[in-house]
Each structure stands twice: as structure tokens, then as C-alpha cells.
């Protein structure tokens, strides 16, 4: 195996990659245009009128959830660090049980468009919606920045665009297409983009996996041996600890990350918002079941693809290539399927960024228009047409912001932002959602304490962690103001938000709104009075 393989994909096939990706864009734009109702109702724009079926929404959920980081990042981490890369996958998947058992059906029955609908249901509307919108916007922005910055790296790798200006042009193009999806398609169009993308992604990884298994005579053991012999860590890649096992601190960091992953998924606003695109709670339940099915296939495939990349391409070649770890899956695709398969994998990776960013933009715009504009500024008396107009304007603003952010963050190591978004979701949102759903005494003051303490502690702890300063991999290398040793704040910020939510509740004299609590419980379990899809 020579370096030619590392060089080849980033030179000879850029035209083909562009053509395949262009085809995806044209097809999705057409679909978005066809399904768009061009209506201006809030239900259409935010929730596609609640007309998707459980299986459709389940596939779209997996599309929203499986970002380019999951696809390229996990396969790459497995190829280089072996087993430790697989640990991510497990957290990401198990997390969906929280959605299945505790969230999906209740959220569908109680709310209508946003996470704020659920949290503010039996609380004082304005402060709780403000908190909920703040957390939604922060999470969406972190998550989006990571995706957009990744787009630049991916462009360099797959389209052979190496100049910063050229990459900026591609980031602008990605941003504009994404804004178009959201503006024209609303939730309906965005959902179809997710369905198309998720189907492509799943087919792609499943086919490569079957091929790899076939190549090694369906002996996983043989595949693992070959991977180990082509990785400098040898048999170490079959055991945990290659990445996180260095010292006690890194082990603790791993536990912290795992907590944030498993508890974060159920607090991601763009995931919660998907539950409103189905007509009732039973379809919401089916959505999660389909999503779990799709993601089981995906994560098991990435494990095989990661080890397969180590076995067939070799870890050294992967690390020496332009995209480092992220290049593992594309290089493997080139190795097993030549330029055509590489083109398809490249297009799928691009489509993934495009679709995930569209989903986030829609969520951010919905939260601002519905929670902030309609319920805080207009005190719930907004004209729906005006509300949708605000949502569309917000989508444009968010799109511009993410383009600018993406260009500025291009080349920076901002992958930690995804983990941070999960930590904020697990800290600020999960605690308050769980209390709100299952603890009668919980009140407005508890909600605010829980949300803001989780949000602030996560962001502050990351700011004073080695991620930002004081280490060789920090954003600011020259200075050192880090005093928090872990790169992921979850281990501390999640308990903080649960404790603050509890204290904020029992220390305030505010009584529970019994009528609203009764209504919320009946509605959560039976769907009686649930907002449907007019």
C-alpha cells in the first residue's frame, strides 16, 4: 500500500464527486420545491402539518441525528484508535431509549412546535420560553458551527479545493442551498431532504459493510486481525483505552463524555421538534422505533467500516492524508469501489452536512419565532402569518450567521462543539424536561434555575478547560487560563442542573398550578386535547 492511495482521491476524482453531489442537490431541490405547500400556516412551516408517518419520521430522525461527524468521525476514530471510536456509537444509540421511554410520546402530546411548548406548559410563559429559546439557540449554533467548519475540511479532501477562498465559496454555496431548503420547504421539505439523505447514507454504509465482511469470508475475527496488523497500535485497537486510557484524567473525561452522550440526545431541540411532524403519540413512538432500527444498522456498519479502513488502507496512510481521521471512510471507499464509490461516499458526506444544517436552521428559526416573537413579544397574540414571516427571516439570519461562522471556523478544530452541544442539551434541557414531566412540585423558578445553571456551567467549564487554553491542542495555544481539567463538562454540569432545578423549586414559595398539572398529565398520557395537525 503506497501513498498514492492517499493522494489519488483528492486529485483525480473531484469532477466526479462534484457531479454526484450536484445530482443530490438537484434532486432534493426538486423534491423540496414539489412538496412545498407554499402555505403560510405555522403548522405547515414548523411541523409539516403533522402529516408524516412514524416510519418516515423515524428515518428523518436518524437523518437529523447522523451528522457528518458521526459518519466520517466515528469510522475514522475506529480506524485509528480502534475500540475507543466504537464507544461513541454506543452512547449515541443507547441515548434513544430515553426518547423512547420518557420523551417522544409525552412531548408529542403536550407541545405543538417547540421544546418551549412543553417546558412552559404549566409554568409562567415568558421567562420559561425565554430560557428555552436561549438554550435552543445556543445548542443549534454550536452544533451548526461544527458542521459548517467541517464542510471546509471536507471540501479540501473531496473536491480538491485547497485555497481558503475557494473553500469559502463552497461554504457559501452550501449555506445558500440549505437556506433555500428551509425557506421554500419548511419542515416538510426539510424532512424529505433528511429522508433522502438518510436512505443514501444507510444504503451506502450497509453495502460497504456487506462487501467488507464478504472480503474477509464473513469472519469478523479475520477482519480484526488484519486491522490490528495494519495499525501501529496492533492488538491495542481491539481493546478499550487506546485513546482514553492514558491516565486517570482521560478516563474520567471519557466517563464525562459518555454521560453527556447518553443523556444529551433527548434534550436536542432539533430532535424534539421532529416529534411534532407526526399526527399522534403512537406515530411518535413508531418514529423512535424506526430511528433506533436505522441507527443500529448505521453504528454497527461504521464499526466494520472503521476496522475495514484500518485493514485495507492502513492507519498510517489515513493519518498521513489530507483529511486525517476523517479520510478513513472515503479512502476505504476508493480502495474497495474505486472512483465511483468514492464519489458516492463524498456526495453522501456533503449531503449529510447540508441536511443536518437545514434541520438546525429550521429549529432555531422556529424557536425564535414561536417562543420569542409570538409568545414573549406578542404575548401569544401573534398573527400566524407574521409569525411564519419572522421564522423565515430568522432562518435567513441564522443561515448568514452559520456561513460567516463556518468560514471563520474553517480549519479550526471545532469538533468539540458537538460534544459541547450534547453537554448543554443533557444539562439544561434534560433535567428540566424530566422534572416538568414527572415531578408535580416543579415550578417556574425550578425551571429557570435548572436551565440557566446547566447552560452556564457547561459553557463556563468548557471555556476554562484544556479545549480552549493551556494544552497543545487548545484553540489558544499561547495562553493558559484553564483550571477545569476535563474536556467535557457533563460529569459536573449535569448534576449541577439537576440540583439547581431541585433547589430552585423547593426554595421558592410559588405553588404548583394544579389545574395545569392535571391537564398536562392527562394530555401527556392520553393525547386528549393534544394539538393536532390542522
Amino acid at each position: 500500500m503506497s501513498m498514492d492511495f492517499a493522494a489519488a482521491p483528492s486529485t483525480g476524482n473531484a469532477a466526479l464527486n462534484t457531479v454526484v453531489f450536484g445530482a443530490f442537490v438537484v434532486i432534493t431541490l426538486y423534491v423540496v420545491y414539489r412538496v412545498s405547500s407554499r402555505g403560510s400556516s405555522t403548522a405547515d412551516y414548523y411541523a409539516a402539518g403533522g402529516r408524516f408517518s412514524g416510519p418516515q419520521n423515524g428515518i428523518a430522525l436518524s437523518g437529523d441525528y447522523l451528522s457528518a461527524a458521526s459518519f466520517l468521525g466515528i469510522a475514522g476514530a475506529v480506524a485509528v484508535y480502534g475500540y475507543d471510536g466504537f464507544l461513541y456509537s454506543i452512547g449515541f444509540l443507547v441515548a434513544w431509549l430515553v426518547n423512547l421511554l420518557l420523551m417522544a410520546e409525552r412531548v408529542r402530546n403536550i407541545g405543538r412546535f417547540t421544546m418551549g411548548d412543553v417546558l412552559a406548559f404549566r409554568m409562567r410563559q415568558r421567562p420559561v420560553r425565554a430560557a428555552s429559546a436561549t438554550s435552543t439557540l445556543v445548542i443549534s449554533f454550536f452544533y451548526m458551527l461544527a458542521q459548517m467548519a467541517g464542510a471546509g475540511t471536507l471540501v479540501a479532501l473531496l473536491l480538491n479545493v485547497h485555497g481558503k477562498t475557494g473553500q469559502a465559496v463552497v461554504i457559501v454555496a452550501v449555506g445558500l442551498i440549505m437556506v433555500f431548503y428551509v425557506l421554500v420547504g419548511g419542515m416538510k421539505g426539510t424532512t424529505w431532504v433528511q429522508i433522502i439523505k438518510a436512505t443514501m447514507l444507510l444504503l451506502c454504509v450497509a453495502l460497504i459493510t456487506v462487501f467488507l465482511l464478504g472480503k474477509f469470508g464473513f469472519s469478523i475475527s479475520a477482519l480484526l486481525d488484519e486491522a490490528a496488523s495494519n495499525n501501529p497500535k496492533g492488538n491495542g485497537i481491539l481493546e478499550p483505552g487506546a485513546q482514553y486510557g492514558k491516565n486517570e484524567l482521560s478516563k474520567l473525561d471519557f466517563v464525562s463524555l459518555s454521560l453527556a452522550l447518553v443523556l444529551g440526545a433527548a434534550g436536542l431541540p432539533h430532535v424534539l421538534m421532529r416529534f411534532y411532524t407526526v399526527p399522534n403519540s403512537r406515530e411518535a413512538r413508531r418514529s423512535v422505533v424506526w430511528a433506533i432500527g436505522a441507527m443500529t444498522v448505521f453504528y454497527l456498519s461504521t464499526l466494520i467500516i472503521g476496522y475495514g479502513a484500518a485493514a485495507l488502507v492502513g492507519s498510517d496512510v489515513i493519518q498521513a492524508s489530507t483529511g486525517k481521521e476523517n479520510a478513513a471512510a472515503p479512502l476505504l471507499a476508493f480502495e474497495v469501489g474505486g472512483t465511483v464509490l468514492l464519489g458516492i461516499v463524498a456526495a453522501v458526506a456533503f449531503a449529510t452536512i447540508l441536511a443536518v444544517v437545514a434541520g438546525l436552521t429550521l429549529t432555531a428559526s422556529a424557536s425564535f419565532a414561536h417562543d420569542v416573537y409570538a409568545n414573549i413579544f406578542r404575548r401569544g397574540k401573534a398573527d400566524p402569518r407574521a409569525e411564519v414571516r419572522v421564522a423565515r427571516l430568522t432562518a435567513v439570519a441564522v443561515g448568514v450567521l452559520s456561513i460567516v461562522g463556518g468560514i471563520m471556523a474553517n480549519g479550526q478544530n471545532v469538533a468539540f462543539l458537538v460534544a459541547l452541544a450534547f453537554a448543554v442539551a443533557a444539562s439544561a434541557n434534560l433535567s428540566t424536561l424530566l422534572y416538568s414531566l414527572f415531578w408535580k412540585r416543579f415550578n417556574t423558578s425550578g425551571t429557570l434555575w435548572g436551565m440557566y445553571s446547566g447552560l452556564i456551567s457547561s459553557v463556563v467549564l468548557v471555556f476554562f478547560s484544556p479545549v480552549v487554553s493551556g494544552a497543545s491542542t487548545s484553540i489558544f495555544k499561547g495562553v493558559d487560563f484553564a483550571w477545569f481539567p476535563l474536556t467535557n463538562p457533563g460529569l459536573v454540569s449535569i448534576p449541577i442542573s439537576f440540583i439547581c432545578g431541585f433547589l430552585g423549586t423547593i426554595l421558592s414559595k410559588e405553588p404548583t398550578d394544579s389545574d395545569k398539572h392535571v391537564e398536562m398529565e392527562v394530555r401527556a398520557l392520553t393525547g386528549i386535547g393534544a394539538k393536532g395537525s390542522a
Partner: protein
């Protein structure tokens, strides 16, 4: 795409609470049923609802605790019991790999168990309560 339109009838039955301004529900006032108060307190106090509530909690809360502790055990083993996790089971397949895949298996098992539980114990009760309350079924 044919399924898209399928739920409009179901949707109509949700319009029991007509336009509540705080949710901006003015879009299709004609599709909503006449304004009818739902007596949530009465439903809440009914035996049917109490049964539904306790039955749901009896399944959901222990099951959530179970999968969370099982996941935590796995994470702590991966972090602190490296020797145990590095043992070979068959060929080059390690205990770690096996336990990791077992997390996938347990996730699927819990999903299937919950689906069966919900179909058998939750959905019929919900339907009965909705019927008593005079709300068309979902």
C-alpha cells in the same frame, strides 16, 4: 408520498380544543370541532386514568433506571477494567467488543419489550379513557 395526506381525518379529531391564541392556532378554524370543555380533573380522578398512570410508571421508570445503570456499568468497565475487557472470547473478538454489541442487543430488546407493553397495557387503556371522555380515537 401518498401517506402524507392520510392523517387529515385524524387531525380533525384533535381540534377539540379550538383555537387557543397562545399557540397561534388560527390557521384552519373551520376544521375544528365546536368549542367543548374537557373536564381534565374528572379524567385525572378516574380509576381508568389512575391505572394507566401507575401502569406506565411501573414499566417506564424501572426500565429507564435499568438501561442507564447497564450502560454506566459498561462505561466504567471500559474505562477502569481494561484487563477484563481485553480478554479474548473467540479468535480476536474481545470481551469489550462483545459487551459493546450487547449494548446494541439490550437496546433492541428494551425497545421491543416497550412496544409490546405499550400495545398490550397502555394503548387499550388510553382508548377506553378517550372513549369515556367523548374524544374520537386517534
Amino acid at each position: 408520498m401518498t401517506e402524507v395526506a392520510r392523517s387529515t381525518t385524524a387531525a380533525r379529531s384533535f381540534g377539540v380544543e379550538t383555537y387557543e391564541s397562545s399557540f397561534g392556532g388560527f390557521e384552519h378554524p373551520r376544521e375544528s370541532l365546536p368549542n367543548r370543555e374537557i373536564d381534565y380533573a374528572k379524567i385525572y380522578a378516574s380509576d381508568d386514568f389512575k391505572e394507566l398512570r401507575s401502569s406506565a410508571r411501573r414499566f417506564i421508570l424501572p426500565m429507564s433506571l435499568l438501561f442507564f445503570l447497564w450502560y454506566l456499568t459498561y462505561v466504567l468497565l471500559a474505562a477502569y477494567a481494561r484487563d477484563f475487557m481485553s480478554q479474548r472470547v473467540v479468535g480476536s473478538i474481545t470481551v469489550a467488543l462483545l459487551l459493546g454489541v450487547l449494548q446494541f442487543v439490550s437496546t433492541i430488546v428494551i425497545t421491543v419489550l416497550y412496544l409490546r407493553f405499550a400495545r398490550k397495557h397502555l394503548d387499550p387503556r388510553v382508548e377506553a379513557i378517550r372513549k369515556t371522555a367523548g374524544v374520537a380515537d386517534k
